[in-house]
């Protein structure tokens, strides 16, 4: 087939009846890209011979090297069916690897149908399930393609009959997956409260349309690598005459348990029972098997031409001489059963054209799921009609951008050298001839040599001419970025033209709000100008002037406006499209940093580009200053790093585990030891006075007595929740009256806090009520907004914490006799310092109350700053810091770790392995329930953040990819192990041994942080003195 001109394709775009938007989905390595190759070859874009080897759609270098697809890419193909109707097929090839499932989501959104490819040897993979689920959710029309049939013949060496059984089992498997997705969806929708309804909803729903069946024509058997494919109907057409049956009848019986009765010339059911060959085996598989046998196994050179003739194929002498068996198979079978014909025919027949979007899908796309339809304005509702009819003449232009693809500017068609037309070529040729003539006349020595030279010149010259403008453009925009982002979009209504003014609707845009519909002032819509329009041709682009509804298009010039997805519309009545349903959420967090520290700005720029280019990566800056990217998995990280290094940032980067922060706290004295034996306490142990820390300032003139107490969990939660309020309170400048709203908020926090403290054990330290205690709060720490309280139980009157108003009194009322006032802020700062870096591993504290029992300053006329210890304020600060630290250490200390809550959906077989992975990482299972209708368990568990690195990877490996965890930060949890614990009681010594070899988890965490921070770690440089390698005797 000749190369189809892009112009013709552009013309076809307008005829919606003849447009199909499809994507190819499958498990990794089931042959999506190979299939795409064969289809591309049918358009003459690449050679038939190279189809399957070239992987044309994998335009990235790392895709080619690794042999997996990493991004979805689109190509427009031309197809002419046997009734001479022209079709434009927008094909999107998608990646199969789990790490790139976001790319699949973006592809699925733009299509009307999907080809699901299944490897007949490997069967249904986990990604096949995921694809089918996504197709079901997005309500695409799927067709099934059973790939790699050649492996059954050559590799597995099955007989045609065995192969038939294998295939029918596989088909059942695929249909079972579909059925279970369907069933769980129906059951989920079923009204559980309706007790009257004893019948399951399943029984009432029609699912006949759902399944794949060769007789219905939505299944194709194929070997994409060998370039052949057939549907049952292809063979039906072939045999109808010979078997003297009607073609339509034959289509129904060619697959299934039917055998052919040659006497009656009819198909009879019950082939298996009567030990007859099913028709599919007899007429279809055996033919293919024998061809393979002749060509690949027996290599029968004589018989081949005969058969070719029988099949009506033309084989060139050259084709017969080829010794490569595979190539020969390709030529013979490829001619007999061309893959493009069967596959594209099936697509054209079964996938609806874009203007036949069904009601439900239109609604689902157009309106957010949680919005009542009748609350929407009429104008918005009327858009659905335009949407459904996909009218190119509609005045309402609606397009959905599913992702932004980066394209190197040199690849943009406006920058690319144009292909010379025939005319131009002719002119050049003439020119060269003329010159040769001239030279001939000059030298009068016409030689063949010169002629060839001339031709060479022609080609080099042509190149030169081409290069020149390209160079110019390259030099000119030296400042311009190297990559332009092109929006990967589909037009749903109206016609998109270059330079058009459209609204970019953000997800918050809501046509129900009248304010949102006012042009110019709409808060969540910006006006954008459509730049260049492109048609995707694999790795290349084709310029277009306008694109009618129903087509996939690349839009330039939107880089600044769109980050990842967007809805473009000419009217503000349109609502923002529902978000992509992404199968996996990113969970693998890694820190990225440049190898050269000076390259930091470049990295930041690169990360911004990466964020825009990849739909499924989250980029953030952690409080530690690290740049953290959150990705789907290991391969995804590698791709991101590769992109950063090669294109976006162009610097070397390092990838490391992100830093996990901890907190420190104290707990009540334990009543049982590690083996749950009760600890007998003497009166001495119980004496709370032993826990009080006393510290004098350096010049011995001031004394502090402090007791640290754990706060109840409710109070900690309350303080944590309102951290922002306290931050604001601390930032309020003095003497400003707090706004009424703020004051009432504070008052409510106050009362809640006294309730939360109701149960708090205070060891008879004070007679004050809880409400009074709240009034006596001196400060919160760290940073004035933490969960630690400095409580004043002294005779000193602290400035009121709860209002900014009276803050001033402490400094301005100079006449108060209390000298301690001057050092108020020093003491508070000492407390802040301690709470921001605790003694365990210098992490902030959480939920600790430091009750100051006594604060005395005995100046007795002496200058406090004298005695040569520096200013007294500094001494107070140091003393406060020290005393808090000691008080903290006097109590049992604990480490607090952040926890992820983790949701996993897993099927029954893998449940055990999944538990093992969670157990190894010290996770806690909260619940695991069987979801109705499917054999899957939904498991919820908690996992320490520090253990989460590589968790998803391990989980996937252990469960063969059947469990995909999703992680979300949930809360802070105290690790109930003393980091300094050593076996003490007799039972503990017996159980753990003297060194407690079973590693203390809290200690391991603490030491890892200490080591990172260069703090003291209690470990020996060498464990066993005698076992050191010593120098040789003779040296």
């Amino acid at each position: 087939m000749p190369v189809v001109d892009a112009g013709d394709l552009a013309l076809l775009q307008a005829k919606q009846q003849q447009v199909r938007n499809i994507c190819i989905l499958a498990h990794v390595d089931h042959g999506k890209t190979t299939l795409a190759d064969s289809l591309v070859a049918s358009n003459g874009i690449i050679s038939q011979r190279m189809a399957g080897k070239l992987r044309y759609m994998d335009s990235r270098q790392d895709e080619q090297e690794r042999g997996i697809t990493m991004k979805s890419s689109s190509i427009s193909l031309y197809y002419q069916d046997n009734r001479n109707a022209d079709y434009l097929i927008n094909l999107i090839d998608s990646p199969g690897h789990v790490d790139f499932s976001s790319e699949v989501s973006t592809a699925v959104r733009l299509c009307d149908g999907a080809i699901v490819v299944v490897d007949v040897v490997e069967g249904v993979g986990p990604q096949t399930r995921a694809c089918l689920k996504q197709i079901y959710e997005e309500q695409l029309k799927p067709v099934l393609l059973l790939n790699k049939l050649d492996r059954l013949i050559l590799e597995k060496q099955l007989t045609p009959l065995d192969a038939y059984f294998h295939l029918s089992q596989l088909l059942e498997q695929v249909n079972a997956v579909l059925g279970s997705i369907f069933a769980s969806d129906v059951l989920a929708k079923e009204d559980i409260n309706d007790k009257q309804n004893y019948e399951s909803a399943l029984e009432q729903v029609d699912d006949s349309e759902l399944y794949f069946s060769p007789a219905a024509g939505n299944v194709v058997f194929c070997s994409a690598y060998d370039g052949w494919a057939f549907a049952v109907s292809d063979f039906a057409a072939m045999y109808a005459e010979r078997l003297e049956m009607k073609r339509s009848e034959l289509e129904q019986v060619l697959w299934g348990d039917f055998y052919y009765n040659s006497k009656k010339k009819t198909a009879q059911p019950g082939a298996q029972e009567k030990a007859k060959k099913p028709m599919f085996v007899q007429f279809v598989l055996e033919n293919i098997w024998s061809l393979y046998d002749i060509i690949a196994i027996r290599k029968d050179k004589e018989k081949l031409p005969q058969i070719a003739e029988k099949l009506g194929l033309k084989l060139a002498a050259r084709d017969l001489r080829v010794t490569d068996v595979k190539l020969q198979i390709k030529t013979v079978l490829g001619q007999w059963l061309p893959i493009d014909r069967s596959v594209l025919e099936m697509v054209v027949r079964h996938v609806p054209p874009p203007h036949q979007i069904n009601e439900e899908r239109a609604q689902r796309l157009l309106y957010p799921a949680n919005v009542e339809l009748n609350t929407l304005p009429a104008a918005t509702l009327s858009l659905k009609e335009c949407f459904k009819s996909c009218d190119a003449r509609s005045e309402h232009v609606i397009a959905f951008v599913s992702k932004m693809t980066p394209v190197h500017i040199s690849q943009l068609p406006q920058n690319r050298a144009k292909r010379l037309t025939d005319q131009e070529l002719q002119q050049r040729r003439d020119e060269v001839r003329r010159r040769i003539e001239q030279r001939k006349q000059q030298s009068e020595q016409p030689t063949l040599e010169q002629l060839t030279q001339g031709v060479e010149q022609l080609s080099t010259q042509a190149e030169k001419v081409d290069e020149a403008p390209a160079e110019q453009t390259a030099e000119q925009p030296a400042e311009l970025p190297e990559y332009e982002f092109i929006a990967f979009a589909r037009v749903f209504s109206g016609t998109l033209r270059r330079g058009m003014q459209l609204y970019n609707l953000t997800p918050k845009h809501d046509p129900r709000q009248p304010a949102h519909r006012v042009a110019d002032t709409a808060p969540y819509a910006t006006q954008v100008t459509v730049g260049e329009l492109y048609m995707f041709m694999g790795g290349e682009l084709q310029l277009l002037d306008e694109v009618p509804a129903g087509n996939i298009v690349g839009i330039g010039g939107l880089e600044a406006h769109i980050v990842k997805t967007a809805t473009l519309s000419s009217t503000l009545d349109c609502s923002s499209f529902s978000e992509l349903s992404i199968m996996a959420t990113p969970i693998l967090r890694v820190a990225i940093e440049p190898v050269q520290p000076q390259d930091m700005p470049k990295l930041v720029k690169g990360l911004k580009l990466l964020n825009q280019a990849d739909a499924c990566v989250q980029v953030s800056v952690a409080p530690t200053g690290e740049h953290v990217i959150t990705t789907l998995g290991e391969v995804h990280v590698e791709k991101c790093v590769h992109d950063l290094e090669q294109s976006y940032a162009k610097i070397k980067v390092n990838v490391s585990k992100p830093i996990v922060s901890f907190r420190e706290t104290i707990v009540e004295e334990a009543t049982v030891d590690m083996l749950n034996e009760a600890i007998v306490k003497t009166a001495d142990d119980k004496d709370i006075n032993k826990k009080i820390a006393v510290q004098q300032t350096l010049n011995k003139l001031g004394t502090l007595r402090v007791l640290a107490l754990p706060l109840p969990a409710a109070a900690v939660e309350l303080l944590e929740q309102h951290a922002n309020v306290f931050k604001e309170l601390a930032a309020t400048p003095r003497n400003t009256l707090l706004s009424e709203k703020f004051s009432t908020l504070l008052a409510s926090i106050k009362s809640q806090l006294s309730v939360a403290l109701a149960e708090w054990e205070l060891h008879n330290l004070t007679s004050l009520s809880k409400a009074e205690l709240v009034e006596r709060i001196w400060a919160l720490g760290p940073r004035n907004c933490g969960t630690n309280i400095l409580l004043n139980l002294t005779d000193y009157e602290q400035p009121d914490f709860w209002s900014a108003q009276s803050k001033s009194s402490d400094t301005d009322v100079r006449n108060t006799s209390d000298t301690r006032r001057d050092f108020n802020s020093s003491l508070v700062n000492g407390f802040q310092l301690t709470t921001s870096a605790g003694p365990l591993c210098e992490e902030p504290m959480q939920g600790v109350c430091f009750a100051v029992l006594d604060w005395s300053v005995h100046s007795e006329g002496e200058d406090l700053n004298a005695r040569g210890f520096g200013p007294f304020s500094g001494q107070v600060l140091t003393a406060a810091k020290e005393v808090c630290r000691q008080a903290f250490q006097n109590q049992p200390q604990r480490l607090v770790t952040p926890m992820y809550s983790c949701n996993i959906v897993v099927n029954t077989e893998m449940l055990g392995k999944m538990y093992a992975v969670i157990g190894r990482r010290h996770g806690k299972i909260l619940s695991s329930d069987l979801t109705q209708g499917s054999g899957n368990f939904a498991v919820t568990c908690l996992l320490p953040v520090i253990e989460s690195f590589n968790f998803a990877q391990e989980m996937r490996k252990q469960t063969s990819g059947l469990a995909c965890p999703q992680l979300m930060f949930s809360h802070w949890e105290v690790i109930d192990i003393d980091p300094f614990w050593l076996p003490t009681t007799e039972e503990e010594l017996m159980h753990f041994g003297e060194k407690a070899d079973s590693a203390n988890r809290a200690k391991v965490y603490m030491d890892s942080v200490r080591r990172r921070k260069g703090l003291f770690v209690d470990e020996q440089v060498v464990e066993h003195a005698e076992k050191q390698r010593t120098l040789s005797k003779n040296k």
């Binding site: 530690t624 200053g625 400048p733 001033s808 400094t811 802020s825 700062n829 440089v1021 120098l1031």
Partner: protein, 252 residues
């Protein structure tokens, strides 16, 4: 008569670290294992037999000369050998072994890097630099840890060196200064502001001036002294925030 010293009868000490102590005019030595003495000193090794090769006290370990009873008696009083060994272990001088030095250096460098990271910010973003970046930049700047200085001194040194390699700045301290406006002849305000990086807020209340300042932490002492001297102890300094950094997680 002493032995003739030849390479063949020479016994080299391997895996031995000698700890020496001079007391009562005599030198005492003990033979310890390498890489163990510092562990003993910081209390992470509790088994004395893992530290000492033998409980004998020598006057010269390499020659194998044991100390005499009466000399020990004279120097240490009536103690048994192990007690004396412990005293020598804790007070004596020793040559630090390779691995020990390495681990001490490593942990010191780590603590310097971390305190630099804690003290400094990137002036463009006002966010801290990650510790790894600081470590790398320090290496590029050919920074070496000075063992005889403490972490704080080393840190300040490191920050000084880093300035030439990286846009880096001490994170600023937020301070509130209050004093009567007429104190210090009106010059006080001027002087204080000169020392600050930025005046965030300024207000008069009656005759008292309140200033909220962002300062370099190094200037804290200077301002403190200035205010105290000029106002004769009546002015007031209040530390609002130790370091002003952006702390939240930021999504791109």
């Amino acid at each position: 008569m002493s032995k003739i010293f030849t390479p063949t009868n020479q016994i080299r000490l391997t895996n031995v670290a000698i700890v020496r102590l001079k007391k009562a005019g005599k030198r005492f030595e003990i033979a310890c294992y390498k890489n163990k003495v510092l562990s003993w000193r910081n209390n992470s090794e509790k088994d004395i037999d893992e530290v000492l090769q033998t409980h004998t006290i020598f006057t010269n370990v390499s020659k194998g000369q044991a100390a005499k009873k009466d000399e020990l008696q004279k120097a240490f009083g009536p103690k048994d050998d192990t007690e004396i060994c412990k005293e020598i272990l804790s007070k004596g001088e020793l040559q630090v072994s390779e691995k020990e030095r390495q681990s001490v250096l490593d942990s010191q460098l780590n603590s310097i890097v971390n305190s630099v990271a804690a003290l400094c910010v990137n002036p463009e973003t006002r966010r801290p630099y990650p510790a790894t970046i600081i470590e790398k930049s320090l290496k590029d700047a050919h920074f070496s840890v000075k063992m005889n200085k403490n972490t704080k001194q080393n840190t300040l040194e490191a920050i000084k060196m880093l300035r030439e390699h990286l846009p880096i700045e001490r994170s600023r301290m937020k301070l509130r200064v209050s004093f009567a406006g007429k104190e210090g002849g009106g010059k006080l305000k001027e002087n204080v502001i000169k020392l600050a990086n930025k005046v965030e807020h300024e207000e008069w209340e009656d005759a008292t001036l309140h200033l909220t300042l962002l300062i370099d932490p190094g200037q804290y002492r200077v301002i403190d002294e200035l205010v105290r001297n000029e106002t004769k102890g009546k002015g007031l300094l209040e530390l609002l925030e130790l370091k002003e950094v952006v702390e939240s997680d930021e999504l791109f």
